[in-house]
């Protein structure tokens, strides 16, 4: 039998890898994927706790998170395409004009 803490540790590792991706990568699409990985780590934690409490509310939460993630990705990728159209790049350093 697997202890709950193993799942928590796995989720913490995935979350941190996602956070690292946001910090060290400069490509907007990869950053966005890293954010999805962070959301995924949160979801894993929800399902784990739902299981250990024998409740369903955690699973329902994950269902909503997946729906929201789909909406967010649709809008986010649309914005990335719009930015690419004008700048021909999705490197977040090259894209930045607004600063100073």
């Amino acid at each position: 039998m697997v202890p709950v803490s193993y799942y928590v540790a796995l989720s913490a590792i995935l979350f941190t890898i996602g956070a690292l991706g946001v910090l060290i990568r400069r490509n907007a699409i990869i950053i966005f994927m890293s954010i999805e990985l962070m959301l995924n780590a949160g979801n894993l934690l929800f399902v784990t706790f739902a299981r250990s409490f024998e409740q369903l509310s955690g699973q329902v939460f994950v269902f909503f998170v997946i729906a929201v993630a789909a909406a967010e990705v649709a809008v986010g990728l649309a914005l990335i395409v719009a930015v690419f159209k004008s700048k021909q790049s999705i490197d977040i350093d090259e894209v930045s004009n607004l600063r100073g």
């Binding site: 928590v8 989720s11 979350f15 996602g18 956070a19 946001v22 907007a28 950053i31 966005f32 954010i35 962070m38 959301l39 780590a41 949160g42 979801n43 934690l45 929800f46 784990t48 706790f49 409490f53 409740q55 509310s57 955690g58 329902v60 939460f61 909503f64 998170v65 929201v68 909406a71 967010e72 809008v75 986010g76 914005l79 990335i80 719009a82 930015v83 159209k85 004008s86 700048k87 977040i92 894209v95 930045s96 004009n97 607004l98 600063r99």
Partner: protein, 478 residues
């Protein structure tokens, strides 16, 4: 039960009506869309006051998803007012005035804010925050021909999605510690359990990341100036007022109910919030000094104002809650007026540089007067509303034995006064070569600006009723 949700239902219906009307009308008659939207929102305001008045006892409705109390009620009106003013400013802003989708996005974002103010469950809270944010990402990047606009939408989205992910992780830990997603249940579980201090504080920090982003609290403020500068000006005003107010509505409810001070032994989140408040106002005010673009200046000034409001939250008392609600109401009308002036001036001046504002008082005395009153109110000069609001948050800090915080606040208010006066000096004392060209004010903007102006003066002179209402609203938390 459905009556209490009537304002929200009205907004959903309004969104569909606007969307289909947009399809049916030709380009010319689409100028009618902002008025349709404004009328629908006015209807929602009336429904809020007539049908959705909370009773003496706060109640949890829709399976514990929402809490129907006076705080919910007051914030509903705040958001609706902010949205109404934004729609009216947009009507005079040619690039968006006739786009039906634009109004649909404002309506759904307002719907999200109203749910944020009422949420009593993490599921509902998460969805409400996203329903508020996703339309705002689109609105910030709405003008696809303008590189700056798409870029600001893109930045806003990346920052927003990242902080949301961090917040969600905090929510999942909170669920793990308490076994429930309802804020009021979580409070009970945290009080009884003996959680180690580090887990409690870690969860507070993770959860706060998402909220701090919405209110542009340091260190989550980087996006604000860039996004405000690039997005359509009426939307910048909306972001800095209604969206920020929604963030604060969530912060006071979550911190005071889900993380009761008794659950922490000794050191709790008030100290963290006090430090965040001091940093936020200092950073905002100091960087604002160096700005040469009025939208960026107002962006940093709105960061600073988030700091003042956080003082009231750090106090974690009834006076603190009251001062937060009062400050948000005053700040909403004041900053809407300031951004409204910028939106109107931008049409003729064609620029947002401070230099373009030289001699504005000769080109449009009315516009200059609104800018004068709103900036003085932001600076906290009596008899404007901003003065009373500042006095209240300082009093809350002193009452909570945080005299140092009040001192930092007063020093910051002086710095703030300086850069607001620099803008006013340009408007009133400087001359420019184009003084003979007047700056016309579109009628819908004039209406919204007048209402804001009256509100600023009324909040500053007839204080007692607003003070009482804020007290009742904040009372729902204790």
């Amino acid at each position: 039960m459905f009556l209490t949700l009537l304002p929200e239902i009205t907004l959903v219906v309004l969104a569909f009506v606007v969307l289909t009307t947009d399809l049916a009308l030709d380009r010319q008659s689409r100028a009618f869309l902002p008025y349709l939207t404004a009328a629908g929102m006015l209807l929602a305001v009336i429904f809020t006051i007539v049908f959705a008045l909370p009773g003496d006892k706060p109640q949890l409705i829709f399976g514990g998803m929402l809490r129907h109390d006076w705080l919910t009620f007051v914030f509903r009106l705040v958001f609706l007012f902010g949205a109404l003013a934004t729609v009216l400013f947009s009507a005079g802003w040619e690039r968006v005035a006739r786009r039906g989708e634009y109004y649909v996005l404002i309506i759904t974002s307002t719907l999200g804010m109203m749910l944020m103010g009422a949420s009593a469950d993490l599921v509902m809270l998460f969805l409400a925050i996203e329903t508020t944010s996703i339309p705002l990402y689109i609105l910030a990047g709405f003008i696809t021909e303008d590189d700056k606009s798409t870029e600001s939408g893109f930045k806003y989205l990346l920052f927003g999605a990242m902080t949301t992910a961090i917040m969600l992780y905090g929510f999942s830990m909170l669920y793990g510690f308490s076994g429930s997603t309802n804020l009021y249940w979580i409070a009970g579980a945290l009080m009884s359990g003996e959680l180690p201090f580090i887990s409690m504080m870690g969860t507070v920090i993770l959860v706060m990341a998402g909220f701090a982003f919405k209110v542009s609290m340091v260190p989550f403020h980087f996006w604000a100036p860039d996004v405000y500068e690039g997005s359509p000006t009426p939307i910048a005003g909306f972001l800095s007022t209604a969206s920020k107010a929604a963030g604060f509505a969530v912060i006071i409810r979550v911190l005071l109910t889900a993380f009761p001070l008794e659950a922490f032994g000794g050191v709790d989140w008030t100290m963290m919030m006090a430090i965040a408040a001091a940093l936020t106002m200092s950073v905002g005010n100091l960087i604002a000094l160096a700005q040469t673009n009025i939208k960026r200046l107002l962006a940093y000034s709105s960061v600073a104002h988030a700091g003042y409001i956080l003082m009231g939250i750090a106090a974690a008392s009834e006076l603190g809650g009251l001062s937060v609600v009062f400050y948000i109401i005053v700040y909403l009308v004041t900053n809407l007026a300031a951004f409204g002036v910028v939106a109107v001036a931008e049409r003729t001046l064609g620029s947002n540089d401070l230099e373009a504002y030289d001699g504005l008082s000769r080109r449009s005395p009315a516009l200059a007067l609104v800018l004068l009153i709103s900036l003085l109110s932001l600076a906290g000069v009596p008899p404007m509303g901003g003065f009373i609001a500042k006095v209240l948050v300082f009093a809350a800090a002193v009452e909570a034995n945080m005299v140092w915080l009040a001192v930092v606040g007063i020093l910051n208010a002086i710095v703030g006064l300086y850069y607001y006066l620099i803008v006013l000096k340009r408007v009133y004392l400087f001359r420019s070569e184009e003084e003979d060209k007047p700056v016309p004010i579109p009628r819908p903007s004039a209406v919204a600006l007048t209402v804001c102006l009256i509100a600023i003066l009324v909040f500053g002179t007839i204080i007692a009723p607003w003070f009482d209402y804020s007290g009742i609203a904040a009372g729902a938390l204790f």
